[in-house]
């Protein structure tokens, strides 16, 4: 409140005017670019953690009951003699999902790029509420620390899955975790408030602060996707917060919302969680789709294919996202008739998704495709997201879901959409905007090597999981060898684990390369990719306040290879020296 009512900070046009003290500039920064970079480093750290947890749980699955190398560094309560305990395994799964979804992917997409890109792409000086923005980052930081800390407390970290199904999550005596469980709830509640502040900021900024001529249908798709995502978050996350509060009360002050003994409803938790949860997974894919659209148009030197339908497809996905949550509950005991309608709405989502996939292909069609690292990752996104989306169709069909629900088929789906989808898009975005953020290029050869390794090992890890799921291997299983029908699966699991270690290795390679380029990479020009959107019209990195004066926008965001131009791109604030491309088609808005 106070922050909103406060007079907006008048910020300097360019550094020289009045340089800020270090602490205001880099720690409690209000500059959207610095905040974006703060998010980037924090999230990559959490990505590293999430990956490490994955590697640990993969070791147990690959070599059940064997001492994990270096595992004896862990305390007795987790892995005595390096052998992972069942209760610790459950924490590993839970925290892996939690860190990846809430502290790595989501803030990498939104926290980093909504902050960094929106003001630059719409052509304004900063966010509408810079100070709110600062709070959003620091609350996120705190929530992350709280979540990390929960490993250290008595009883360990939460062990009821990232979905926190009640009553398991509400009954410490059943899950064996009490403090860690409460810290999970508190951490995510703080996280929710942080992203709420973010959403308010992004939405207000996009609505009210676009540069002259930047009409809705001249916005780059990256900004469109971030705008829609912010709305999703604004409406979905508060519901989770409410549910979390009830869950916390059930544990601490004896309420019984989700505890059946006095008429509470365990399924109510699932309804509330997934009412948030499914929009959440679209929060995790829409920005990825936006970035990929920018990058594919740029890499194909061609206007995006069907700009308007790309926008409407995203709007459709976002809206449908609010009426499909039940597809996570087909086997939960929910009314079967309800399952039917949820199945239909879920299947319908394939349609706008199809539009997007085929329009990306349409953009590449008859393009002039550049094999830059960002483009490779973007194309990788299209190929892998398609696989993940298609596996979603199996589960959307209620009868098939009877068999594959809670099996590794789901795990395969998750990772194809979240890793092959979201994370590939994030890598693409990092490679694409790194020069703008840090004024240096990432070495192309190293980038291509990183892409090749990630692409290969990713598929080696997650494609076989479809097979494991078809074989009936359940999720969240500490020791598959307990079951007859999984007897034949151990060598596949071992192979998957080995590939997973290699995949983590390629992640570390990226880490090295990232920091190497940060200091050693060759200096980047303002517009290394000959791109058309506004952020490339300012120096790399942009100065405090971005623009000496607000640019005028004359046409749509993807004017590549215009026939009347000798250079193959026309940036949004360039007045076309020849006939205005506005005549040439739909995407150039009015």
């Amino acid at each position: 409140m106070a922050t909103i009512t406060a007079e907006p900070t008048g910020i300097a046009m360019v550094e020289e005017e009045h340089p800020l003290p270090f602490i205001r500039k880099y720690i409690f920064a209000t500059d959207h670019k610095i905040i974006g970079i703060q998010f980037l480093f924090t999230c990559l750290f959490f990505l590293l953690i999430g990956g490490l947890l994955a590697v640990m749980l993969r070791y147990q699955l690959g070599y059940p009951g064997q001492a994990m190398p270096g595992g004896d560094l862990l305390p007795e309560t987790m892995a005595p003699g390096g052998i992972v305990l069942p209760e610790f395994y459950n924490s590993l799964v839970t925290m892996h999902g939690t860190f990846m979804v809430f502290f790595a992917i989501m803030p990498l997409l939104v926290g980093v790029y909504a902050n960094y890109l929106i003001p630059l792409q719409i052509g304004t000086h900063d966010m509408a509420f810079p100070r709110l923005n600062m709070w959003s980052y620091w609350l996120f930081f705190v929530s992350g620390l709280v979540m990390l800390y929960s490993f250290a407390v008595e009883g360990g970290a939460s062990a009821s899955g990232w979905t926190q199904y009640a009553p398991l999550s509400a009954m410490p005596e059943a899950s064996g975790v009490s403090t860690g469980q409460q810290l999970w709830i508190i951490s995510i509640a703080i996280f929710g408030f942080s992203s709420l502040l973010g959403s308010v900021n992004y939405i207000t900024t996009v609505i009210n602060m676009r540069a002259p001529g930047m009409t809705w249908f001249r916005l780059p798709l990256a900004t469109w996707s971030l705008f829609i995502t912010a709305i999703l978050g604004l409406l979905a996350i508060p519901v989770l917060t409410a549910a979390l509060i009830m869950l916390l009360f059930d544990q601490t002050i004896g309420t019984t919302f989700f505890l059946p003994q006095t008429g509470g409803q365990p399924l109510l938790w699932q309804h509330l969680f997934w009412f948030f949860g499914h929009p959440e997974v679209y929060i995790l894919i829409l920005p990825a789709m936006g970035f990929v659209s920018d990058i594919i148009a740029n890499g194909s030197r061609k206007p995006i294919f069907g700009y308007h339908s790309m926008v409407f497809a995203m709007v459709a996905i976002a809206f449908l996202g609010f009426i499909v949550w039940g597809h996570h509950m087909f086997q939960s005991g929910m009314n079967p008739a309800l399952g039917m309608s949820f199945m239909v709405s879920t299947l319908i989502i394939a349609v706008p998704s199809a539009i997007k996939v085929f329009n990306w292909m349409g953009t590449m069609w008859r393009g002039n495709i550049q094999f830059t690292t960002p483009m490779l990752f973007a194309v990788g996104f299209v190929m892998l997201f398609a696989i993940g989306g298609l596996s979603g169709i199996f589960m959307a069909s209620t009868p098939v879901d009877i068999f594959i629900h809670d099996t590794y088929f789901i795990v395969a789906h998750i990772h194809y959409v979240l890793f092959g989808g979201s994370l590939f898009a994030i890598f693409a975005a990092i490679y694409y905007w790194f020069p703008k953020m840090f004024g240096r290029m990432i070495n192309e050869t190293m980038g291509k090597i990183h892409f090749a390794l990630t692409f290969i090992f990713f598929n080696l890890v997650f494609f076989p999981m479809h097979g494991l799921g078809m074989g009936g291997m359940m999720r969240r299983i500490y020791d598959p060898s307990q079951y007859e029908h999984m007897a034949g699966m151990q060598d596949t699991n071992t192979l998957v684990s080995i590939a997973a270690f290699a995949l983590y290795g390629s992640g570390l390679l990226f880490l090295v390369m990232f920091f190497w380029s940060l200091f050693r990479g060759k200096k980047a020009p303002a517009n290394p990719w000959n791109a058309t959107t506004l952020e490339w019209q300012v120096p790399s990195p942009p100065l405090h306040g971005n623009w000496k004066e607000i640019p005028e926008v004359y046409h749509g965001p993807y004017e590549y290879s215009h026939p009347d131009m000798e250079k193959d791109w026309l940036s949004q604030n360039e007045r076309p020296d020849v006939a205005s491309p506005a005549r040439h088609g739909s995407s150039t808005g009015h």
Binding site: L267, F275, F322, G326
Partner: protein, 90 residues
């Protein structure tokens, strides 16, 4: 954005309305109508009061249409949530 001596909505009238409606609510609740009737009356009055606050005190009546739409938008997912979950129980 505020021109001097601007005409204000009749706030006191709205206030009176709210007070009276509240009084009616409290009495209606204990009139011993059939339960369904009571619920309908009370909900109707509550919505009426809510609208008075939103339209006059929060000035939605005098804001650009777009803002009113934006403010009302969440009611759709909100309604979907409650109605659909209720369908699971009845």
């Amino acid at each position: 954005m505020s021109e001097a001596g601007k005409q204000h909505p009749r706030y006191m009238l709205v206030f009176g309305g709210l007070a009276v409606l509240t009084a009616i609510e409290v009495t209606a609740a204990f009139m011993g109508f059939p339960r369904s009737v009571t619920i309908l009356i009370l909900l109707g009055l509550a919505v009426w009061k809510a609208l008075l606050v939103a339209l006059y005190f929060m000035h939605l009546k005098f804001e650009p249409r777009a803002l009113a739409v934006l403010a009302a938008a969440p009611l759709l997912p909100a309604a979907i949530m409650i109605v659909v979950i209720l369908m699971d129980y009845v």
